[in-house]
Symmetry: C2
């Protein structure tokens, strides 16, 4: 995690990403109907005031996420919603402001409740010594932050905690949930969480179960954590 570029937001300044975001939001909001043709390249170039190069790179980006599909002579179509990859951090970011945050978060929780307890169970079994060490350090940090409470710091360390757990499953298919969860946090969940201490205890239970290699308990306490009150309403 050390030698990656500063952050995703850096490249968001690039023109084709801005164009992609704009088109994506038209699709995600339903302004561009599923199955309909978007305007042809030259028209879009004029609409956005960019070159075909930039526009096409934008379209390729959206095609890769399952939103668009192009064919010569026909044009570019918005594909059916069932093919949109909502398990993609960038798409989740782009949903900001398009969907009722409460509904969206509650849907996400519907998936998270299925995935995260199992991730904890797997981490309890498969975490390497290095990963256990890392988790341990993060939990230490968590304790420290709680003693001298700081909202920003706590969100940061909370995200790291969950991310390390997903990594510790050592299962490729669980890895993406780390980013997805982080993105959901940053984009939608800005809840004030005054009950930092309560949370700490819940995290402690998860932490200890994983370190002890007790997968059943890890799963159970994680599920408890996700059913605690604060997950139900994202207080803006």
């Amino acid at each position: 995690m050390t030698n990656n570029f500063s952050s995703i937001s850096t490249s968001s300044r690039s023109l084709h990403v801005q164009v992609a975001r704009s088109i994506a939001r038209r699709i995600l909001s339903g302004e561009l109907a599923q199955g309909s043709l978007v305007p042809n390249e030259m028209t879009l170039c004029e609409q956005f005031g960019v070159s075909r190069t930039a526009l096409r790179e934008a379209i390729k980006l959206l095609t890769s996420k399952g939103l668009l599909e192009s064919r010569p002579k026909i044009g570019t179509k918005v594909v059916h919603r069932a093919y949109w990859n909502f398990l993609d951090a960038q798409i989740i970011e782009w949903m900001d402001g398009l969907s009722d945050p409460e509904v969206f978060c509650s849907q996400f929780l519907g998936l998270r409740r299925a995935v995260e307890p199992e991730a904890c169970a797997l981490a309890a079994i498969h975490a390497t010594p290095e990963q256990r060490q890392e988790l341990s350090e993060i939990f230490q940090e968590m304790v420290k932050v709680t003693e001298n409470f700081n909202q920003a710091k706590w969100t940061e360390v909370d995200m790291s905690f969950h991310q390390v757990i997903f990594n510790s499953t050592n299962n490729d298919f669980y890895l993406p949930f780390g980013n997805i969860l982080t993105t959901m946090f940053k984009t939608f969940i800005m809840h004030s969480s005054k009950e930092g201490d309560v949370c700490l205890n819940e995290h402690r239970l998860i932490y200890e179960a994983i370190m002890a290699g007790d997968s059943a308990k890890a799963k159970a306490v994680s599920l408890d954590h996700l059913q605690s009150a604060k997950h139900h309403l994202p207080e803006t």
Copy 2:
């Protein structure tokens, strides 16, 4: 699902997708190390014998999936594995032949066991009348195929069955699993499944529980289904 273009494979003939696939496989296999710089654009253009246009569209596609990250003057880096989006059908396709299929399938099953039972539970509650109708028709088809057994037909209808269930959750975050499962089937799971009839009964239980709106039972029988023997080893 009616008015999409013939299939994804059509566009795979396009040059930038071929290039993307080739680079992706070098990354996924580890031949291009995480954090390392890939050769600059002109070098890659020469290596692949394509124009910068095509090459850059390929890179944009891979960037969108979390495999690459570019910056002016610096170059293009392979990002850390934790950011690769394994929950992407195209990446899963590209893994073909790069990973031990048995390990890969077993990892996938590790996620599927978490997600699909919950999807069945949600479908039992949230499926619309139209979706219940669709599920019903597909199950009818399933019965018919079993009576006059045909491997290809059965795989087809099996995929549809599970896809409709994910759609019937009416939860955006469950939608992508339909494609992912289908892709896993097509790419890795070619098991002969002589026990088609046994499976039919398992599917019947799932089908009936969902139609009855019994979420707890739907979840339970789905989990049973996923723990039945044939899921453990993909017989090539």
